[in-house]
Symmetry: D2
Amino acid sequence: MTATSAETATLLVACKDRPGIIAALSDFVFRNGGNILDLDQHAERESGMFFMRLVWDVAGFGMDRAATDAALSDLSARMGLACELSYSTAVPKVAIFATKAPYCLYDLLLSQQLGELHCKIVAVLSNHDELRPVAEHFDVPYHHTPIAKGGKAGAEAAQLALLKSLSVDLVVLARYMQILSPGFVAAVNGQVINIHHSFLPAFIGARPYHQAKERGVKLIGATAHYVTAELDQGPIIEQDVTRVTHREDVEQLVRKGSELERQVLTRAVKLHLERRVLVSGNRTIVFG
Amino acid sequence: MTATSAETATLLVACKDRPGIIAALSDFVFRNGGNILDLDQHAERESGMFFMRLVWDVAGFGMDRAATDAALSDLSARMGLACELSYSTAVPKVAIFATKAPYCLYDLLLSQQLGELHCKIVAVLSNHDELRPVAEHFDVPYHHTPIAKGGKAGAEAAQLALLKSLSVDLVVLARYMQILSPGFVAAVNGQVINIHHSFLPAFIGARPYHQAKERGVKLIGATAHYVTAELDQGPIIEQDVTRVTHREDVEQLVRKGSELERQVLTRAVKLHLERRVLVSGNRTIVFG
Amino acid sequence: MTATSAETATLLVACKDRPGIIAALSDFVFRNGGNILDLDQHAERESGMFFMRLVWDVAGFGMDRAATDAALSDLSARMGLACELSYSTAVPKVAIFATKAPYCLYDLLLSQQLGELHCKIVAVLSNHDELRPVAEHFDVPYHHTPIAKGGKAGAEAAQLALLKSLSVDLVVLARYMQILSPGFVAAVNGQVINIHHSFLPAFIGARPYHQAKERGVKLIGATAHYVTAELDQGPIIEQDVTRVTHREDVEQLVRKGSELERQVLTRAVKLHLERRVLVSGNRTIVFG
Amino acid sequence: MTATSAETATLLVACKDRPGIIAALSDFVFRNGGNILDLDQHAERESGMFFMRLVWDVAGFGMDRAATDAALSDLSARMGLACELSYSTAVPKVAIFATKAPYCLYDLLLSQQLGELHCKIVAVLSNHDELRPVAEHFDVPYHHTPIAKGGKAGAEAAQLALLKSLSVDLVVLARYMQILSPGFVAAVNGQVINIHHSFLPAFIGARPYHQAKERGVKLIGATAHYVTAELDQGPIIEQDVTRVTHREDVEQLVRKGSELERQVLTRAVKLHLERRVLVSGNRTIVFG
């Protein structure tokens, strides 16, 4: 999705496989004057599932949005599809949650500013005040939402009210050192991406770099995933690793890992915003 | 393409982009009772080209091969497509050219034996006799075609006659230390894959590891490409790199590189045999 | 360690750090006419440990082996060192254990034949007979040691007797589908390298590729480690990963993983044979 | 080099190899009460060169700096060494040159702020004024040094005067879109690190991503190197690559490449500042 692109529509489809789905959908696009720019489909034999991402050029497409929705809804009902349609002109609103570590926050804000993330970042929320200058440097409102002892429920309620008032579509946890309650995750429809500082499912939980040093692994990793009620168990969007040696102590692993964390998190957010990620059960299908 | 798969048909399409191509082709598959298993399409804005790979399940497909060919030919003419259709039950015949280095040869023969390469290896040709036991161990006929001084043309003629008598579809140069004449390449319709021991276009020509050591690069590479009349300039299919340090001398670079060469060559041959590679101008489109 | 090298001596040292160790050892080499070719040392602040690998050119070294041993033994006692000395002219004897999968076995045998592994492979042992032609092709004796139901102890006793009669220094489990008893591991002094088909500590135990597919990871891995009494918990020597997508089913993950397994196992065996691996607690220090 | 470290001294040595160098230097450290923390040495057979990096703990070292310099100078003269000694308490002064692209600049400034770069960034210089807010956000003085048509010599003279007045030790070209004159490079003793947006020596010169797209490479790269009089030919410090597909147009290659550029440049600067880089001829020896 580039700044100079004309408007496009992106359709994500997940359903039980059956013949004729692509024919029906591509015919629908063609008959209405659209041109398909990118189509990536795969039928999974093991699960019998059908996954597809279809992008078409809206210039010349003769049906308006309401009619398109109705037509797709009708087609989905007839063929048993689960569809998700979005337009490149609709810019998602993102809120970033952080604590004190700045590197993931900088990377997201700068990438957005450079046009690499198809979104508007409408707020940075933090339980501390340290990162205010970073948000302000990028002209993004900063909200300090401290969490008093025993006051987590209240803090989450305030955060949710803020997100609602800003019509936030996606929450990104950029090294946010608090665990969200299942209620919070449900309230934002699971549209929360987190970065975990290990190659999941290795080293679940706290202090993964200490665990990595102790186990003597030769690669450390980072994993970006959707947040679910169960800690570190949500669908994985992206992960990567980097090589380490005995010369690096835990503090150096933490630093090297933080470089990886920001890359993996920004890549995952970018994939999500470009509508390249489909969740199916506890897995994601990522269209490259 | 797995051993246990049912029969599939794979269609590669390259042409000037225009609306309706996917609709027409997917409708064709659907109307005749086929089910699309995998579809990967991309329209390139810069060049205005359309590229697609479409795989469908032949079980239930109601049209025989001759009729399918005729129908696709008709459709191609009407829409200006360049199509290439193949069936998984047609097993390509491969000849491997080698000289004395055994590692690429072993990798190809073993991968084929393990079912990773969708082909039959019908011959190993070499200008030396050292690798005969390797071919024989894998029950592949070995042909010693020595090249006398000034006798290259004659040797190539003999090789071509052999390839023709065996109905060879693809020639793989597995560290074959001779340069093929343009006439030879033309005679096999450019169906020749070579492995070059550098990250092309860096270090074209001879002794790339010596060049790499001298230039002090931090990564060495290997590149598999189709052979064209111009040395080391053909369309690149696959390439990869590996990290090196000052501790490794040229001899060690050669060894480390040879490990990379065999991986990259086998991957490229596998991609070609699974019909994942489309040549467009001097580039390839590789469907992952 | 290259075929053309002159004789070298390699000293591995692990001990509590204290000033003067390098001075004492390098002075010892120098005073006796040796030239240091490679020295890699690191003092670990967190653990207070000293690790070193020192290689010197034996040409010109004026002390014979017995005197060298005595002098080092004396020095070690005075300074509290744990030393391990080996000479490049002493070629370790290796036995490979396999079951039916051939790819790791081929890679080890071919690498040894090409001079990449500083060892002599004296035997291939298997509880099946399928791989006999592979061993014989490389002129390595094959021993079929079937394991009858309930007969594991007897089979291990026979294997140990064979290893002893052959003076085997290292056992490599090249996809050997049996779990060695702690008694067996103790009897070979823990000189056993295994390849596990996951990025440990993720996916310990059986069917790691199925686990990986289910968890939806974006990278699969392989880990080579020394075998200890506890399954999949021994010191890690080498590991690596490769990227996978939703297009690959479990069978394809298994194939892609097997390519990784053989690379990682051969690299680990090579590191061990070049005396680049020091075990410290449950970790390894690998000198690159 | 971590923030919490005690003072250390780092000695880099390059010279013709001869026996006794390590013994002499380690004895020198030991006799004066220092403890060696890290030693990495390699004698290169092909060139007959000796390379070493030696780090010792200054706590307890009984010789002051002037005496140490004199002693090392004496030893170097006797043994023919080229030595370079630095102390961790001496913090190098760095100036960053940029034009309009902000990503490398942010990465350097943030990494320095987070304690990952052992330096003080004393100035950002640019021939444009766009990046002023970035420098000011990190409290680094910004100098706008515009280059009028034909005014390059004058601009360079002004830049050199500024660098001199700030006692700058290292110049980093963070996507600086001007070619430095040989005179400038000489005036700063070659202490200039540049980032080139390709995997050198592939795609030397302008528009490497366009060249890469046209050649159809499967990986794009970035290379950090010392600047010499000859364009893109200086000693390479670090390089890396990332995989690309036909789905990415030139604009997307540029973006993906820019992510790589900042990683590679920051890593190279970090290696330089930790005194891990030795220049030997037109190559670097990098101590990992």
